[in-house]
């Protein structure tokens, strides 16, 4: 397999440059794909309309047109806004997204960082976005923004817990916090001695997968958990006062995070970059691994967007009840069951 051998010797700075560029691609590409494929097209087909059709074939260049429009807009500030906080908020949200993509492995050697506490890092940096959203809500000096920001903070803190606890089952089963090794544990795993498809954790951790999906839906503030941006009551919550470039940054942040959370779900529960039938150490995976990961990511995010377009939203107290009274006990139960079964088998 020398054809696919990519292990070229590169200097550290060369690797860093390549990784930075690929990181940008890894954030922007899923965001663009999700927006076009699901937000523009799938949503339209579900709602018996065509969606964008004019810009490019089947409206495929619509996204570029939208970005161009946002870039041209004036950078407005509300008069009473806290300017520094208002300006910085979108970057804080986006920073959380960029940090989140770091831990994702896309092949045996295709990773940004490979550390033993990858899961811990991912879950820690994912909550930085709460600070950004609170900053946006407070800095806008608008009542709608303030309500939206506070709702968002309450919601994100509440759903952080089920998110973390749902992953704990995977961590216990794989026996490691290293994301790469979680993928390998699934690739090399066996289902009662049969190793044909490895052991994707969705089979044993189905409850964890469901809780994880619900929690990321809430973390992304998408319907049915979009109370913080509920456009029919508090306009768009913390986004109300943003226009142009800064709104675009929030927008990219939201959809890129949707993509990366889906990729994380795919990595934790669906086997990540691995597809059955090949040797997981094969160099081939450095090439097709990213594509496999994107494919699985699209599968998971399809579910996210499907729920998004179908359900009405929960009220603030109802979604808090769902988090604390249902999801947290269930995920604790999942951890206990996983731990007991791990010891027994």
């Amino acid at each position: 397999m020398t054809v696919f051998n990519l292990a070229i010797e590169l200097a550290y700075w060369q690797q860093t440059v390549i990784r930075s560029i690929l990181g940008l691609v890894a954030v922007l590409l899923p965001a663009g794909t999700l927006v076009y494929l699901y937000l523009f097209k799938m949503m339209s087909f579900m709602q018996s309309r065509l969606g964008p059709m004019e810009a490019g074939p089947y409206g495929s260049l619509q996204l570029l047109a939208e970005v161009g429009k946002f870039l041209q807009k004036e950078d407005l500030f509300p008069r009473a806004a806290d300017r520094v906080v208002f300006k910085a908020a979108p970057f804080v949200v986006l920073a959380s997204t960029f940090l989140l993509v770091l831990v994702l492995p896309a092949g045996p050697d295709a990773w940004f960082i490979n550390i033993d506490t990858g899961v811990f890092l991912a879950l820690a940096v994912s909550s930085i976005s709460v600070i950004g959203i609170l900053m946006a809500g407070w800095g806008s000096a608008s009542k709608y923004s303030l309500i939206g920001g506070l709702r968002a903070a309450g919601q994100l803190v509440a759903y952080e817990l089920p998110l973390v606890l749902a992953v704990m089952g995977v961590v216990i089963q794989a026996g490691t916090l290293n994301v790469q090794e979680i993928v390998l544990a699934q690739a090399n795993g066996e289902i009662f001695g049969w190793g044909g498809i490895g052991n994707p954790f969705i089979i044993t951790q189905f409850l964890g997968f469901v809780i994880f999906l619900i929690a990321i839906q809430a973390e992304l503030t998408q319907p049915p958990f979009d109370m913080p941006v509920a456009e029919s009551e508090i306009v768009t919550g913390y986004l109300t006062e943003y226009t142009g470039m800064r709104f675009l940054l929030f927008f990219i942040g939201e959809f890129a995070t949707a993509g990366i959370f889906s990729a994380l779900a795919a990595t934790f529960f669906l086997g990540g970059w691995y597809i059955p039938g090949l040797d997981p150490t094969s160099n081939l995976f450095n090439l097709i691994g990213p594509l496999v990961l994107v494919g699985k990511m699209l599968l998971v995010s399809f579910l996210i967007f499907w729920f998004r377009f179908t359900y009405p939203r929960f009220r603030e107290d109802q979604l808090q009840q769902l988090a604390w009274k249902v999801l947290v006990p269930l995920s604790l139960l999942n951890i206990v069951a996983t731990g007991v079964l791990k010891v027994v088998f």
Binding site: Y144, P223, E316
Partner: protein
């Protein structure tokens, strides 16, 4: 009083005072939120001043009049046939229904009665405009609760109803079709069969909404037990239409009113719901669309032949007198009080529109609810801004 006791007493008083001070310091100031006049949920220019304690509403006060167009005054300088053009625009989603009570009141003053065929066609269009109106509510309520999809289905299927109205009257939104003594034109060729197809489409739309919205658990948790209006309170505030029927009051002017429409010759049912909450209001309206479909299909089968205009003079002068006619319009009871002095124009017209009264209950019903429920309750009360402000 000895010294010891007095120090104890003083310290007690001091404690009380400091507690009181802390309480005053801790008491958070309420926030006043202006919902509207420009707000995505009011689909128009209704302003609601809400005083909030956290997310809870302390008091709510609707401010109307941002869309006041002065129709009552304008009618005084319009001849009777010209008035229908104006009143079309009161409830713009079911506009034909606005013309009917005015025309009926004028007919009562002139002592004219429309021929049977005209009455049947009038009733058919009256019910079609109800369908066109309430179908949009069925989708809009869901969109207020955050589900974006149903409203597109509503617009999709409402389009066919509007097409049928257009092919009879020539106007999609503002037909201006009703005349004193009858209607303007007869039905076009093939209209009856086409309308039957449209009705089956609306039937399947209702089934779709029953599955997609009414059966949805989140929709039920958001609407059941929210915004309960007891029957006597609702009647005291002058609620009408589906809003009062969903509080269990069995009162429908189409059955009980006995004015110049032919609902009493049709086989249909008045739906009520005992709960009086937002869910009941949605459910009752859903059933009413089905009943309207039933009525229209019966009308299509049994429509009599004959003339469509009674004998009325070319230049309409209404004899002096007063008349008040109210009908069960899509939003509730709509009535016109006409005073005529025998001129070409009415001397005074008072319009009683349903949404004005339906909105007036908001200070009572919104007290103590959460901000998200403000929107769902307002959506379920279902007002049209033109119908509030006239």
């Amino acid at each position: 009083m000895n010294l010891e006791a007095s120090t104890q007493q003083l310290s007690y008083i001091a404690n009380q005072a400091s507690d009181a001070r802390v309480n005053i310091e801790l008491e958070t100031e309420g926030m006043t939120l202006n919902l509207g006049p420009q707000h995505p949920a009011t689909h128009g220019t209704l302003r609601i001043i809400v005083r909030l304690d956290g997310e809870q509403v302390v008091s709510a006060e609707p401010v109307m009049g941002y869309m006041h167009r002065g129709y009552e005054k304008l009618t005084e300088v319009r001849t009777y046939p010209q008035v229908t053009t104006l009143v079309n625009r009161i409830d713009w989603l079911g506009s034909f229904a606005n013309e009917v009570p005015f025309i009926l009141a004028a007919e009562r003053l002139m002592e004219v009665e429309a021929p049977p065929r005209a009455q049947w066609i009038r009733t058919a269009l009256f019910e079609l405009s109800r369908i066109a109106n309430v179908v949009l509510f069925l989708g809009d309520m869901a969109v207020q609760l955050g589900a974006t999809t149903p409203v597109f289905y509503a617009f999709r299927d409402r389009e066919f109803v509007l097409n049928q109205i257009e092919s009879v009257t020539g106007g999609r939104f503002h037909p201006n079709f009703d005349r004193i003594g009858g209607i303007k034109d007869d039905l076009p060729k093939g209209w009856i069969q086409e309308t039957k197809d449209v009705l089956s489409r609306i039937h399947s739309f209702c089934d779709e909404m029953e599955d997609l919205v009414v059966g949805n658990e989140i929709f039920q948790t958001r609407t059941r037990g929210i915004g309960i209006i007891p029957a006597d309170t609702g009647l005291a505030y002058g609620l009408s239409g589906a809003n009062i029927r969903s509080s269990g009051v069995d009162w429908d002017l189409r059955r009980d009113g006995g004015v110049g429409l032919i609902h009493d010759q049709l086989d249909w049912k008045v739906w009520t719901h005992p709960d009086g909450d937002s869910f009941a209001r949605y459910w009752v309206r859903l059933q009413e669309v089905r009943e309207s479909c039933k009525m229209v299909s019966q009308i299509l089968d049994g429509i009599p032949s004959g003339p469509i205009m009674a004998k009325v003079p070319r230049i309409i002068k209404v004899p002096p007198g007063e008349a008040y006619v109210e009908t069960e319009n899509p939003l509730g009871i709509m009535g016109y009080y006409i005073i005529s002095k025998g001129d070409l124009v009415p001397y005074r017209v008072k319009i009683r529109s349903a949404s004005f009264n339906n909105v007036s209950i908001t200070p009572w019903v919104l007290k103590g609810v959460y901000v998200p429920d403000v929107i769902s309750i307002l959506a379920s009360l279902y007002f049209i801004l033109g119908d509030i402000d006239r």
